[in-house]
Symmetry: C2
């Protein structure tokens, strides 16, 4: 008998009919002879509604109380799913984060998982129950309810899989799996049958929003193999696992894109100051995430530094940097460029295959697409392009690496 | 410094504005130098909405899962109230039933309180927090959430008062206190300043629905003095406490009425069988609560038995009794009378004042109101009257005992 953990997101349990659909899927898995643990989110819309209520009461709700409020969303889903399974004639038992033994630490509304005591879930499985655990929530050592922040339910599922030594962890979502590129952009994008943790992390950080990076990092750390699948059909999904030597045979696993980018350049830096530290701490204090960073010295000997950020942060970045500009020299100036996008190619095969960058930039050049800043990691190459070019860029790069035909 | 427990029902926290109103009241009590513990219900309408959701999923929701679902209603109220108090600049901490240490046993959806470990609440009080506890819910020894059934929040408040050795327990509701009679029926009904546990119990069982009997019984058992007050004003309420000798000076504390009653009579019982046992167990199996019971033998030597019940149960009672009628004799017959009401006078003074029944039935006779079945306890006399007569009956009896002018 295998032990299978299945995670269902808010849209998968977004209505009573959909809750019944999930109940049927869990029962099918149970009838096939497996021990089944479900991890579920709040019904879609419920968390937002609760946050709205909180903001009716206060501008900045105290976070412990916000967690107390938000945790009710998942608690309602697990109860309703438990009822649906019972109604269909099978034994079910629901568990809040606390009852599932998910112990957390850190800040309220963005807790981290410290340990899991899955003994109550194990007992219920032994009694033949389908176990339904509230995702996104746990309990601190002092007994307060704590939520896990964005992507928290995925994290709950992966952590429970680790604690239960599950044979399989399935993350059900509204897409069939991880694709070589966003199928809305590249029509012949293929679903990947397998991807390594590191590739998945690079895809997530470069714009492919299937899962939050923290869940993938947790899975990598504890060696939890998981599958991303669609809750509305029975198609096989994408397995996310430790890298194997066979994976290197493919040069590139996928292409990811991120829109809504802006570039900020500080140039003519002449003052003998640690300008990188000054610039980056200024932006950090303004709570602005900087992504790509390029630093160099111009032909006139002045230093210049460019970085990308989300376009929504551009105004705040300008305001913050203007204040420190005088520290960087009399001539120091600030230039900005909005309307950019990022294009990345990701793949562990990059390590053993030379010429990846050449292929990528040749394809873009042939299509007449100019590139801007470039950043690389061991298994990723990223460039900025004009926002208007991003779809065409994704298509030509996807084709250049034959991602539409190659099998992973 | 006094420790005060205040319970607020669903209508008192029925909107964000009302939650703010409760927050202000708690803060006032805190600022007056008291340690304050609030016990709150779900926002009015929320519990019904959740029950509706459950019934969309199944006809008979499994009760453990129903408790899991319903408990979210109070959890939302305590979180929002905690936010409102924090927003007003005071320290607050919310507690689910489990966090407040309310341990329960018995059946789901109608749990009973077994014990309370109030140490976490005490700690928070010591830190200067206003503590906000979810009413209506607790946790079993195996960690399942259990709700306490109707009137459960009152019970939570009284049990917490007992565990915390509170100096005062205030049950806030939408009326000013306990009245000599329902003011919608008797215009000059007076609010009582004090009432004994036993009188309150008799009032509850005979139709005055200020509180469920079980909460009053718990308060009596553990000697918790409590006050019933209005959450929308600052009027003094009614103190409910152990009987004192002074209370006997008043003949009658109040008049209570209950509408929607029906009478069932089984007559011509000739079979030598334990007919009372047969009839009552038949009704119990059909889940029908019987109230007044009168048994006698008619002049022809046949036994007859009458009992009252809620009119809604009449059809089910007839169906159930018809099946067992043949066991009671060839001639046994069933008669029913709908459209009745019950009128009761209640008071510990009855024990030391003779002539209470005479005064009551004289007043009714003088008004031309005919009475039916009669039942008595040590401190209560009840009679049935025609439903059409009940308001007039209440007024003449209320006046006969001078309840509009006497001071308790």
């Amino acid at each position: 008998m295998a032990l299978i953990v299945q995670k269902y997101g808010g849209s998968s349990v977004g209505s009573i009919d959909r809750i019944r659909n999930v109940a049927r899927r869990l029962i099918e898995t149970h009838k096939a002879g497996n021990a089944v643990v479900a991890v579920v989110s709040a019904m879609s819309g419920v968390t937002d509604k609760l946050i709205g209520l909180a903001h009716e009461v206060c501008e900045n709700p105290p976070e412990r109380e916000l967690d107390m409020l938000l945790a009710t969303g998942e608690q309602q889903s697990i109860a309703l799913l438990g009822m649906a399974i019972t109604e269909m004639g099978y034994k079910a038992r629901s568990f809040t984060g606390r009852q599932a033994g998910i112990f957390t630490y850190g800040s309220h509304t963005r807790g981290r998982i410290r340990s899991i005591d899955a003994s109550a879930v194990k007992d219920a499985l032994q009694q033949g129950c389908i176990c339904i655990c509230a995702g996104f929530q746990g309990v601190t050592t002092d007994g307060s309810i704590q939520t896990l922040g964005r992507g928290g339910s995925d994290l709950s599922a992966i952590a429970l899989s680790s604690a239960l030594k599950a044979d399989l962890c399935q993350i059900f979502t509204d897409v069939d799996g991880v694709y070589t590129c966003d199928p809305r952009v590249v029509k012949d994008a293929r679903k990947l049958s397998v991807i390594s943790y590191d590739e998945m992390l690079e895809m997530a950080s470069s714009g492919s929003k299937v899962m939050q990076a923290r869940s993938v990092e947790f899975a990598k750390k504890f060696g939890v193999v998981f599958e991303v699948r669609n809750s509305m059909n029975n198609n096989p999904g994408t397995i996310v696992q430790e890298e194997t030597s066979a994976m290197e045979s493919l040069v590139i696993r996928g292409v990811s894109i991120e829109r809504n980018q802006a570039r900020v350049t500080v140039s003519h830096i002449t003052a003998p100051v640690p300008y990188t530290a000054i610039i980056l701490s200024t932006l950090a204090e303004a709570d602005i995430n900087v992504d790509m960073i390029v630093s160099n010295t111009a032909h006139d000997g002045c230093a210049r530094q460019s970085f990308t950020m989300n376009m929504n942060d551009l105004g705040a970045a300008q305001a913050a940097l203007k204040k420190v500009l005088p520290q960087l020299g009399d001539q120091a100036r600030l230039d900005t460029e909005a309307g950019l996008a990022k294009l990345s190619v990701v793949g562990v095969g990059m390590r053993s295959n030379s010429g990846v960058a050449a292929t990528m930039f040749r394809a873009l050049a042939d299509a007449g697409i100019s590139t801007g800043m470039i950043a690389t990691s061991e298994i990723r190459i990223t460039t900025t392009v004009e926002a208007a070019d991003i779809e065409r860029a994704a298509n030509v790069v996807h084709a250049a690496f034959h991602l539409n035909v190659l099998q992973a």
